[in-house]
Amino acid sequence: MSELAQRQLTELAEISDGAIQLLGTVTESGLTTLTVSLDTSGIETANGGIRLRARERFEIIVGPSFPDLHPDVNVAHRRWAGTPHVQWGRHLCLYAAPSVEWNPADGMRGLIARLNLWLQRAAAGELDPAGRPLHPPVAYHSYKHGWVVVRPDLGDLVPWTNAGPERVKLLYAWCAKRGKRIDVLEWLTRQQIIDRLVADDLRAQGENGVAYFAAPLVLISDTLEMEYPTTAALLAGALDTYGLNRDELLRVLVNARIINKAIGVTLEGDDAVPAMMLLGTPARRLEPGVLLAHITAWHLDDLGADITDLLQEVSPEHVELAARVRKLAHDWLGFARLQWMVIHEARPEVTRRRDAGSPLQWLAGKRVLVLGCGALGAPIAEQCIRAGVAQLHVIDKGAVTPGILLRQPYEDADIGYNKAERLATRLSRIRHDLTVTSSSANIVTGTLTDPADLLQYDLIVDATADIGVRVGIERARGAIRAEWPATISALFGHTAQRGVATISLPGATGSGHDILRRLSIDTAITAPAGWKDLADDLFPNPPRTERFFPEPGCSAPTFTGSAAETAALASALLVSAVSVLASTDAEPMTAIGCDLSPEVRGPRPVRLGWRNDVILPDKTGNYEVRINARALAELRTETRRGRRVRGGRIETGGMLLGSFDEATQTVLIDTVAGPSPDSHLSAAYFDHGTEGTQEIVTSLSTATANRVGFVGMWHTHPYGVASPSDRDEEGMADIVAMDGGSRRALMLILGGNAPIWEGWLDSGTLPNIYARVINRNPASRQEGMVAPFLTSSGAWFPGGYTYPTGQFPTGAGERAGIGRDQ
C-alpha cells in the first residue's frame, strides 16, 4: 500500500505551499522510504527540548500493512539522540498507544499532524510533562534471555529518597526460577541474606522443579541515557560515572556467585540459574515528585558467567593468578554485548489494578467461603480469586458429570472427581500467592452443624440454590446473628436469564431463606418497578408444572441455559451483591434482581431493602416472634389513628398476618389489619368482629401463594400493662377453638406507662410488647363464655374507618379514672 501513502503525501505536498516537500522514494525489501522535508521554522526550543532547524528532513518508512499499521519515522542524524522518545538515536517514538492514537482513515495527513505535534512537544521539552507518569527508558530486551516478574515494592529501599550521601545501593533479589521465567520474591540486604543463610532459611530447591537463587540489584540515583547501553563497556562506563566502578561491579557479580554457591544453587549445567544482574534507576513516576525505580535485568553471557565464577574461585593468595583473572574480567567487560531480559512488572508501586473502580475491590483481602461449585458457585469463586481475596474455601459434595461441562468450568478429565477439589486445583493456579482449599462435605449435615467454624469468614456465598442449605443457614445463624458473616445467597430463574441475590449483613434478622420470602411477598401484590418479570420467573404463582430434567428419571430438575448466560448472570449477581456490601447505606437485608433477558425494559439491576424485624421471645419459650418494619409501622399507624378519632385511652387492635415457620420455630408477622367495622372498642376492652376479615386473609394468601395468612390477633392496652386480661385469654381461646380455625395463634398486646406509650406514638420508640403462642385446645371452649360484651351503645366505639358521630367526652385522651379490666 505504499502507493496510497505516496499519493496521500504527494497531495499534501501539493497543497502545502512548500511546507511539505517529498524529496525521494526508495522501495527496498517491501519497505518504502519516503524522504520528506518539513518546514519547522518557528518551533521554539524551551526546557532543554530538542533544537530544530528551519527545515528538517525525515524518513517515513511505510510497510506493506499501511494504513492498518502506522509508518515509522526516522531521522538521518543523531542530533536528538538521548532525548525521551528517540530510540536507537534516530527513531522517533510518535505513538505510545497506536491502537487508540493511530487512525488508519487519517493516513499520511494524520501522521504528519502527529509528527508536527511531537516536534512541538519535543522542542518545548514537554514529551514527559511533569506530573504525568514517566515513560521509562527503553532497553532492547529479548525473551530469548528469559523474563523476570517483579512483585515486591522497593519503597524506601531506593537510595534517592533520602538526601543522604549514598548514591548507589546494592541489594539482593531473592528469586524463583521456573524454566526461563524468574520471579523476584523479595528484596534482601546483604546482611539479611547472610542471616537467613546462617539460619538455614534459604533453600535452593523447591517443589515441581522450582529453583531459588539470589540475584544482585544495583540501584543508582541517576537515570541512564534514555536509550540503554547495548554493550557492557557502555554500561560499566555509565555506572562508573554514577559511583560504581568496574571493580565494584565485578565484585557485585562475584559476591552473588559466592552466596548462591553457599546456598547450594545449581550454577552449572542445563538447570543452572541464569547469571544476571538487576539494575534500578529513578525513571518511573506515577505521582508528581515521587520517583520510583525502573528495573532492568542484564543477562550475562556464558563467558561472563565463567569469568565471575573464576573470580570467586581464585584465592587472593595467588596474587598473579588473581591479577590475570581480574584483567580477563575487565577485558570481558570491554567487549561483551549486553543481553537485557524481559521485565514484567507486578510491583504495586508502579502498576495499577485494572479493576479500579469495580465494586469487587471490596473483596480484596477478605476471607470468603463459597458453598456450591456449580454454574453459580464456580464463576463466583473465580471472580473472588481474581478480585484478590485473602482466603477462599469452596464446598460441594457433588462430582463432575459429562452434562455440566457445557456450562460449568470443568474439563473432560474432571469427570467423576469432586467438583470442589477440581475447582480449587484450577483456581489455585490463577494467583502465585493463594492456594484455594476445598471440602466435599455435605453442607446441611456437615458444614452447618458446626457454625463456629464459619465465623472466621468475612463473607459466605451460598451458591447452592438449595432451599435445604438456605434453611440450614437460617437455623445456624439464628442464635448468633451478630457474629454471623455477611451472607450472599444467589439463585437463577428457570432459563438462567433472570436471577436474584440476597445480601444479609452481620446482625440482620434473616439471610437468604428469609429475604427470599420477604421478596416473594413484597412482589406478589404490586411488584415494585422492574420486579414483575423476576417475580413471575422465580416465584411463579401457581407454581411451574413443566420443569426441566437433564436426565429424566435420574436427576433433579434444573434451569436451562448456556455457559455464556450462566457466567454472565452469576457475575452480574456477584457484582450487584458486592456493591451492596461496599455501600454505606445498605439496609441489613437486601435483594438484588438481575434481568439479562433480551426483552427487559426499565431499570436493572433492581434492588429492595428491609430493615431488621423486632424480635421477641414468645412467652411459652417455644417460638421466636418477628414483627417486620411494615407491620410495626401499621401497628403504630392504627394506634395513632385510634388516638386521633377515638381518644387516647380507647383500645384498638386487629388481625396479625404472616406465618408460622415450624422448621425454624418462628412466628413471622408480615402485616397487620386494623379493627373490622363490627368490632367494639372501649377503654376497658377490645372485641374484634369478623366483618371483612376472611376477605383480607383470602386476598393475601391467594396473592402470596399461601406464604401469608392469619397468625393471630393484636390489641392495645394504652397507658396499661402489656399482658392479657382474663377477657383477652377467653377471646384467644375462642379463636384457636373455632371450627376451621388455626391450630395455634399468636396473642400480641402492646402497652406501657405514659412515657413509654406516648414515646411510641409520638417518636416511634418501642412500646412494651407481650407475645404468646396459644395452642388449640378444643376442651377449653365453653359455650357462651365469650358472648359479645354488648353494653349501651355509648360505651363503645365501632371499628373500621367511620368517624364517631358527635363529640368525644372532653379530653378523652387524658381522661383519668377509667378502670381497666385487670
Binding site: P603, R611, L632, A633, T637, R640, R644, G692
Partner: protein, 357 residues
C-alpha cells in the same frame, strides 16, 4: 437521613380539599407529615396545602379549621363580598375599563376570594411564612396572557418567561389565583415586579387563572428530571405522594346549550391533560425515577385496591360530588375524606412499606 417526601394536592374544588384532608389524616397517622419537604397544590388542593403549611402547628387544630371551612363554604361569602357597595363600585368601574382597554377586570369575584381568604389566619400570612420547619410550598396558577405556569412558593415565586417575583405575595392571593377555575371564576389580575434571568427588572401584569388548566394534579414541579435551567422550582425527592381528586371516567351527556357546551369541551381538554399527568406518574414509577410514587386517586376503581376493605367508601358514592366551593354536608365531607384516608393508608402500606414506622 430521613426520606424526603413531595406531596401534590390536586385541584377539584372542595371535593379536592376534603379528599386531600383524608390523605393528610392518613399521612399524619403514619407520622409522615414531618418528612414532607415540599407540598404542591392546585386550586382546591392549594387551599388545603395553604391551610396546612400556613395553618396551626397541631394537626387536630388544622383538621378543625378545614372541616369548619368546608362545612361553611365560600360561595355565599364570595357573593356577599363581591356585592358590597364598595366592591361593586370597583367592579363596575373596572369592567368598564376592561372593555375600553382590553385589560382584565381589576376587581372581580376572584378578588372577593382573595379578601375572603385574607380574613382567615393562614391567608393573611406572607407566602414566605410557613408554619412547619423544613417545608417548602408551591402554589401554581396559569397566566392567561403567556400560557405559562406562575408558581408561588415559600422559597420563591416565579414564572419562567419573566423570572422571579420581587413583590411580597400573600397566601390568600396565591391560593385565589390558583383556584380561579375558568368556568367558575374570572381571572385574577395582578402586576408584579420581576427579576429576569438576565438580571433585568421589569414589571408585568399577569392574568392569573386556575393552575390546573395544564396540570391539575400539581405534580409537575415534583417530578424528577427537571432542569433548573428552565424552571425555578426543582426538588430532590425520594418519594412522591400524588393526591388526585379526579373522578375517573364517567358518561357524559351532550350539553344542549352553548355555555354548557363550552364548559363541556373545556372539561374534555382538562380531563385529557390530567390523564397525561397520570400516565407520567406511571412512567416515573416504571423507571424507578424516585424510590416510590403513591398515586391516591379518588376515581380509582374500587376493585383495584390492593387489600380489601370491608367499609371502603365506594367511588360511586363520591365521584359526582361537584367541584365548587359550596358548603359541604357532613355526610359528603365524611365520605370523601374517609375515601381519601382509606386509599392513602392502604396504598402507602402497599407501595412504600419502608416509609414511616
Amino acid at each position: 437521613m430521613s426520606p424526603r417526601i413531595g406531596l401534590a394536592l390536586s385541584g377539584g374544588g372542595f371535593r379536592a380539599t376534603a379528599f386531600g384532608l383524608g390523605s393528610l389524616r392518613a399521612l399524619h397517622d403514619r407520622n409522615l407529615l414531618p418528612q414532607v419537604t415540599v407540598v404542591s397544590g392546585i386550586s382546591g388542593g392549594s387551599l388545603l396545602a395553604a391551610m396546612w403549611a400556613y395553618g396551626p402547628e397541631r394537626f387536630d387544630e388544622f383538621d378543625d379549621s378545614v372541616t369548619t371551612l368546608l362545612r361553611g363554604g365560600l360561595q355565599t361569602e364570595l357573593a356577599r363580598r363581591a356585592f358590597t357597595p364598595r366592591a361593586a363600585g370597583r367592579a363596575i368601574a373596572s369592567a368598564v375599563r376592561a372593555l375600553a382597554s382590553k385589560e382584565g377586570r381589576s376587581y372581580s369575584r376572584t378578588d372577593a376570594l382573595v379578601d375572603a381568604l385574607s380574613s382567615r389566619n393562614f391567608g393573611a400570612k406572607l407566602i414566605t411564612d410557613v408554619t412547619h420547619a423544613g417545608i417548602e410550598t408551591v402554589i401554581s396558577s396559569t397566566d392567561m396572557r403567556t400560557g405559562n405556569a406562575v408558581r408561588f412558593g415559600s422559597a420563591l415565586s416565579a414564572s419562567s418567561p419573566f423570572g422571579t417575583i420581587l413583590d411580597e405575595v400573600t397566601v390568600a392571593e396565591a391560593v385565589a389565583a390558583s383556584a380561579a377555575f375558568p368556568v367558575l371564576l374570572p381571572a385574577l389580575c395582578r402586576s408584579y415586579e420581576f427579576l429576569g434571568r438576565d438580571g433585568d427588572r421589569r414589571s408585568e401584569r399577569l392574568s392569573l387563572t386556575d393552575g390546573g388548566v395544564y396540570d391539575n394534579l400539581g405534580l409537575a414541579p415534583l417530578l424528577p428530571g427537571r432542569s433548573t435551567k428552565y424552571s425555578s422550582h426543582v426538588f430532590d425527592l425520594d418519594y412522591i405522594v400524588a393526591v388526585d381528586a379526579g373522578r375517573g371516567r364517567t358518561e357524559r351527556s351532550a350539553a344542549r346549550f352553548m355555555a354548557g357546551r363550552l364548559a363541556q369541551s373545556f372539561d374534555i381538554t382538562h380531563t385529557k391533560s390530567q390523564d397525561s399527568a397520570r400516565s407520567r406518574i406511571h412512567l416515573a414509577r416504571e423507571h424507578a425515577e424516585v424510590k416510590g410514587i403513591v398515586h391516591v386517586y379518588l376515581g380509582m376503581r374500587d376493585e383495584r385496591l390492593p387489600m380489601p376493605l370491608a367499609d371502603l367508601v365506594p367511588r360511586a358514592r363520591v365521584q359526582n360530588y361537584p367541584t365548587n366551593f359550596a358548603p359541604m354536608r357532613d355526610v359528603d365531607l365524611d365520605a370523601i375524606a374517609i375515601r381519601g384516608e382509606q386509599l392513602t393508608r392502604t396504598l402507602l402500606n402497599n407501595y412504600t412499606p419502608d416509609l414511616g414506622g
